[in-house]
Amino acid sequence: MSLAKFVAKRVLEIVVTLFIIATLVFLLFRLMPGDASSVVAAKMTPELKEILRARFGLDKPLWQQYLIYVKNLLHGEFGTSFYWEGDVFDILKARMLPTVLLFTTGTLLAYALGVNLGRIIAWKRGGKLEYGSTLTGLFLRTMPMFWVGLLAVWVFSYRLDLFPVGGMKTPEIWGATVEAGLLTKILDVAYHLFLPLTVYTLAIFAGNMLLMKNSMLETLKEDYITTARAKGLPEKKIRDHHAARNAMLPVVTALSLGMAFSFNGSILTEKVFSWPGLGRTLVEASLSHDYPLAQGAFILLAGVVLVAVLFSDILYAYLDPRIKY
C-alpha cells in the first residue's frame, strides 16, 4: 500500500469513528434522565422553539429524529446554542483555531524538547544530570497541571506582571477602534500564548524525555552501535544519526497513544488561562447544560484528536522503514 492509500484508509476510519461517536452522543442525550430534548431550552421564544422543533423533528419517533440528526450533521448543522442563542457551528468555528494553536505548538515543542534532552542526557550516562532530570520528570508528572498553571499565573502575571492573566487577545488591539497591523496582532497572540504554552509543554514533555532517555539507553546496547563505533565515526554522529534516530521511534508511538492525555491537558490549560478554545467551550457548555453546544464541541474535539493521531502515525511510518502500510 502506498502512503496515499494508507492515508485515505485512515481518513475513512476517522469518518466512521466520528459517525459512531456522533451516534453515541445522540443516544446519550436522548436517553438520559433529565431533559427530554437536547435541542430546545426553556428560555427560548415560542417562535424559535417552533422553528427548532420543525428542523429537528422533535415530535417524531426516535429513529426519525436520528436520521434528521445525521442529515443535519452532514450539512454542518449542529443546532442552536441555548446560552449564546447562535448557531453552534459558527460559534465553534471561531474556537477551533485557538485550540489547534495551543495544542499543536505545545505537543510539537514538548516532543522536540523531550527527544533532544533525552538523547543528550542518556549519552552523558549517569551523574547529576541524569539524576536531576529523572527527579524533575517525576515531579512534572505528578503535579496537577492546572495547579502549576495557577502558580504560574500568580507568580508571572500577578506578582511579576510579565504576562497577561488570561485570554488570547488584548481587546484594544483587536477592537474596531484601533487599526493594528498583522504583526502586532500576531505578537499579541504570542504574548498571551507564552504562559499557557509553557505550562502545557512542561506538563507533557517530562514523559517524552524520560521515555527517550530510557529508549536511548536500550538502543545503545544494540549491535549496530558497536558497528558504528568500529567504523570510526565521531561520537556525536553515533549518538544522533545512529542511536537517537532509532531510539525516538518508541517516543513517536507514545505520542500517538498519548494524544488523549495531551488533550486532557490542553482542556485544563484552556480553563486556567481562559484560553478561548474548544476545550473551554466544552467545559462551559457542559456545566451550563447547553447540550447543542456541548455536543458539537465534543464531536469537533474528537475529530481534532483523531486527525492529530493520524498525523503522528504518518510521522512514525515515515521514520521507520520496517513499517509496511
Partner: protein
C-alpha cells in the same frame, strides 16, 4: 515416615504467609518503593485524622462549618492552622477531608478499572474471535479519546454529578489500558505447555482462565493499579477543578476550584499551595510504589 509427610504438607495458610513474606522482602529492596509506602502511610493517618477537627468544634466541619468570628478568608492563625476560605471554613480540616476522599476515590476507581480491565483482558486474550475484536475495538476508541471531554459530555447529560459517579466514570475510562497489557500477557501464556496440558486434561475454559492464567497475570494487574491510582487522583482533581465534580464533597481539587472561582488565586497562597502540594505528593507516592512493584513483577529490572 510420618515426619517426611509433615514437612511436605504445608497448609495453604502457611504457603500464603511465606509468599507474602518473600514479596515483602523483594519490595523492601527498592528504596524508592519503600519511600512511597511511607508517604502513603502518612496520608492514611491524615485521612483518618479528618474526623477529629469536627469533633473538637463545629466550626471545623469542612463543608459548612463557619467560624462566628471570621466571615471570609483569613491567613493562617492559631485557631485555623491554614487559614479560612472565602466562606470562613477552616482550610486545614478541608485538607484532611480531602486526603480521605483522595484515597477513597483514587483506590476505588483504580481498583475498579483494573478489575474490569483484567477480566476483559483475560476473556479477550483467551477467547479470541468476535469477543476479542469487539472488546479491543471499544478499548481502542476509549483510549484514543481524551477522558475529560467524555466525562464532561456524560456529566452534562446526567445533570447532577455525585462523587461516586465520578469514580465510576474514571473506572470506565481506565479499564482499556490494563486490558491491553493483560491481554498481551494472556496471549503469550496461552501457548505455554502448562496451559496445553490443562486443556488436554479436560479443564473447562473458565477454570483455565481463573485458576491457571489469572495468577500469572495478577502481579501485572497490581502494578497497573498503583499507577492507576495516580491517574485517578489527578483526574478527579482536574474534574473537580473545572467544575465537573461533586460540590458536596470536599476534595483537594474542589478546594482549588473554590479558590479559583472566588477570585482568590493571587492573594491566598495558604489556600492555593497546600491542596496542590498534597495532590502532587500523594500521586507521587503511588507512583513510587508502582516503581517498587515493577521490579518484582519484571525480573529484568532487578539488580542493575
Amino acid at each position: 515416615m510420618t515426619s517426611l509427610l509433615h514437612t511436605e504438607v504445608k497448609t495453604k495458610w502457611q504457603r500464603r504467609k511465606k509468599w507474602v513474606k518473600n514479596t515483602w522482602m523483594l519490595f523492601k529492596k527498592s528504596k524508592v518503593g519503600v519511600l512511597g509506602l511511607v508517604i502513603l502511610a502518612i496520608f492514611f493517618v491524615l485521612a483518618l485524622a479528618s474526623v477529629i477537627p469536627p469533633k473538637i468544634n463545629e466550626m471545623y466541619i469542612p463543608l459548612y462549618g463557619t467560624d462566628p468570628e471570621i466571615m471570609g478568608i483569613s491567613p493562617p492563625s492559631l485557631r485555623h492552622p491554614l487559614g479560612t476560605d472565602f466562606m470562613g471554613r477552616d482550610l486545614f480540616s478541608q485538607l484532611l477531608e480531602g486526603a480521605k476522599w483522595a484515597l477513597i476515590v483514587g483506590i476505588t476507581a483504580a481498583t475498579a478499572a483494573v478489575v474490569v480491565g483484567t477480566v476483559v483482558g483475560l476473556v479477550s486474550g483467551y477467547s479470541g474471535g468476535i469477543a476479542d475484536t469487539l472488546l479491543q475495538r471499544t478499548a481502542d476508541i476509549l483510549l484514543t479519546l481524551p477522558g475529560i471531554p467524555i466525562i464532561l459530555v456524560i456529566g452534562a447529560a446526567l445533570g447532577q454529578v455525585s462523587i461516586w459517579t465520578v469514580v465510576i466514570l474514571i473506572a470506565l475510562l481506565g479499564w482499556p489500558g490494563p486490558s491491553k497489557v493483560i491481554r498481551a500477557q494472556v496471549l503469550s501464556l496461552r501457548e505455554r505447555p502448562f496451559i496445553e496440558s490443562a486443556t488436554v486434561s479436560g479443564a473447562s475454559s473458565k477454570r483455565i482462565i481463573f485458576r491457571h492464567i489469572a495468577p500469572n497475570v495478577l502481579p501485572l494487574s497490581f502494578l497497573y493499579m498503583t499507577f492507576g491510582v495516580t491517574t485517578a487522583i489527578l483526574l478527579e482533581a482536574g474534574l473537580s477543578f473545572i467544575g465537573m465534580g461533586d460540590p458536596s464533597t470536599v476534595s483537594w481539587g474542589m478546594m482549588l476550584q473554590w479558590c479559583f472561582t472566588s477570585g482568590n488565586t493571587f492573594n491566598a497562597p495558604y489556600w492555593l499551595l497546600p491542596p496542590g502540594l498534597c495532590i502532587t505528593v500523594l500521586a507521587l507516592s503511588f507512583y513510587l510504589i508502582g516503581i517498587g512493584t515493577q521490579q518484582i513483577v519484571n525480573p529484568r529490572l532487578r539488580e542493575r
